[in-house]
């Protein structure tokens, strides 16, 4: 594919788009895993937000 004399501009633009989207994707996946790990850690230690039969339901996430 011959993109002419302006090829470096085109490839740099597409490369930056790929880099930023890949970076966002990686950050989102790693952040999700980190939160899951911390939740699992609390679970293994038996920490709950409320006591009683409703302890496993969510309330204040939003």
């Amino acid at each position: 594919m011959d993109l002419g004399p302006n090829a470096p501009f085109i490839w740099t633009a597409y490369g930056m788009v790929a880099f930023v989207i890949a970076g966002l994707f990686t950050w989102l996946v790693l952040d999700g895993r980190a939160q899951q790990r911390r939740l699992a850690d609390f679970e293994t230690r038996g920490v709950k937000r409320r006591t009683g039969p409703e302890a496993t339901t969510t309330r204040s996430e939003g």
């Binding site: 302006n6 501009f9 989207i21 996430e61």
Partner: protein, 254 residues
Amino acid sequence: MQTFTQRFANPTQFMGLSARLLPWVAGLAAAIIAYGLYLAFFVAPPDYLHGEIARIMFVHVPSAWMAMACYALIAVSAFGLLVFRHPLADVSAKAAAPIGAAFTFLALFTGSLWGKPAWGTYWVWDARLTSVLILFFLYLGLIALRSSIEDETLASKLTAILALVGIVMLPIIKFSVDWANTLHQPSSVLKLSGPTIHSSILTPLLVMGVGFLVLFIAMHLKAMRNEILRRRVKALQLAEVARAQSGQVTAPAE
């Protein structure tokens, strides 16, 4: 009987639904963008005026669309938080800000790379470019404001107010090319009179636009899920601290 929005407003319901949707939405985004790239490089002809450099348009324009659409979503979420106290509104606004900032950066960066061969300069302080740069700073301001306030409820309200005030940037960006003398070309797709681009270029552009939109939806869903998990972690940390403190208070009596 609960409406769909009431059901969806429940974070636990949202987590279940988004877990099922996310792989499909992400896969769909990848497929559409792959098809869009094929059209952009192997089907679309060079532009009659700009030549090959116009291929940057296939990532520049969708990035700019997403920059503005994401801000509109943040403003709607801010309105939902302040007026309806929707439990997911603040989660949505917070999750969207870094993604919107990234798309705005991409619109500026790719536009700059298009500008050098097309206009002879990477940057000019004209109405369109400057207003998009302000939008980028607005995104950074939303992120900075939220992280600078310890009280999360106060932070979410102040951020929502700033987001609603900032919505004024969207019509300024959209109509900047009509109101001001600018190097940036006028709108050629989103026009009342219809697009002025030939279908051989318009079709790849629209495919990439849909691809970026679906990609944004996938990333926003994932970011919202992460934020809900983060809030659960924080609630558990507070519960653990409260339990430890109550244990210390009651210990001497035992």
